[in-house]
Amino acid sequence: MPELTTEVERLSLVIEIGGMPVRVNTTDPGFVTMLQDRYAGYVLEANASEPGNAEIEFDVDLVVPTGGPDEDVRVTRSPDCWTVTRGDFHAEWSPSTRRGRIRQSANPYSIDAVLRIAHTLVLARQGGFLMHSASAIRNGRAFLFSGVSGAGKTTISRLAPPDATLLTDEISYVRKRGDGYVAYGTPFTGELAKIGENVSAPLATLYLLAKGPENRIDEVAPGEAARSVLANMLFFAEDEELVQATFHSAFEFASRVPVRRLTFVPDVRVWEMIR
């Protein structure tokens, strides 16, 4: 009697961002290669991390999507399941088992959105967050450069001197450690399209960027600092408990990390002030 089923090989890789491993399982070798290229520097050998050690483990089903990436993302929680949907993907996972599933086509952008959101939700319970900001390490200390589109995140990243290590030009990764915070490199890129270095350092200062006629650093009032942190944090969930946690995380951060306004002329001299 002929075999009616054949065993399909399951392929795995671990994408570790911010020291947080996420295991991805698929049966498509081409998708694995795509992810290895997309997350170069952040991919661990699957054997390097036991399945149970991953913060989340996703099985990816490659399907034809019903919509596109321009649709709004929706993040909801039932008692033990996070659900994240956008036109181009549907993802869900259980916080208790830390296992889930992503349905998307073979592209790196959909899973990128899932990873950003998953990290945001996990970090929210730990006092950490992702932030719209560039970041870099200099002299062993990390600096964040935050601002709305056009404020200068890409410019300040492009102007970084050789002794500065760029962590990201778009989405910074911040975790709480002891009484302070640590900034990590991320593969989440902006206009510069350059993946950040996968390194970390204690966070020294958050600069709120503004382009102006001179280079200067000004104090920021505590209330404005907290509002600015909140305004630039990535957050998606329609979940009261996490909204409250995120709110308090922003205030904790603003009370522990100096927040300054950095007005700068777009040339390399601005980095003379960032040490």
């Binding site: 009032a221 505590p222 209330g223 907290a226 509002r227 909140l230 957050f235 009261e240 408990e241 909204v243 409250q244 709110f247 308090h248 205030f251 904790e252 603003a254 009370s255």
Partner: protein, 107 residues
Amino acid sequence: MSRIYLARNPKVAARSIDGEMMIMSGRDSTLFTLNRTATILWQAADGATPLDEIVDHRICVEFEVERGEALQDAESLARELASHEILQISEQPIAASSTATPAAGSR
């Protein structure tokens, strides 16, 4: 005239920083920065103290304002805060278990 009781909505997050009271809605993440009068109402909204007593003991003491006018303004402000689901309003005392703590942390 019936009395009005105020209680803090436990579903909002509140924080005082450098004298500024900030409130975030747990429902839609809207951030509110309260002015001084709204901050007094928030802090005094324990579900048990009627609004007229808050006006007598807190608002009229802090601001040189005529009581009737202060009460009218305070009620208007309380209803506005309730419309944003920051405060709960009732003509009966509100159980303590359904109120939030006044504020956490400050710098």
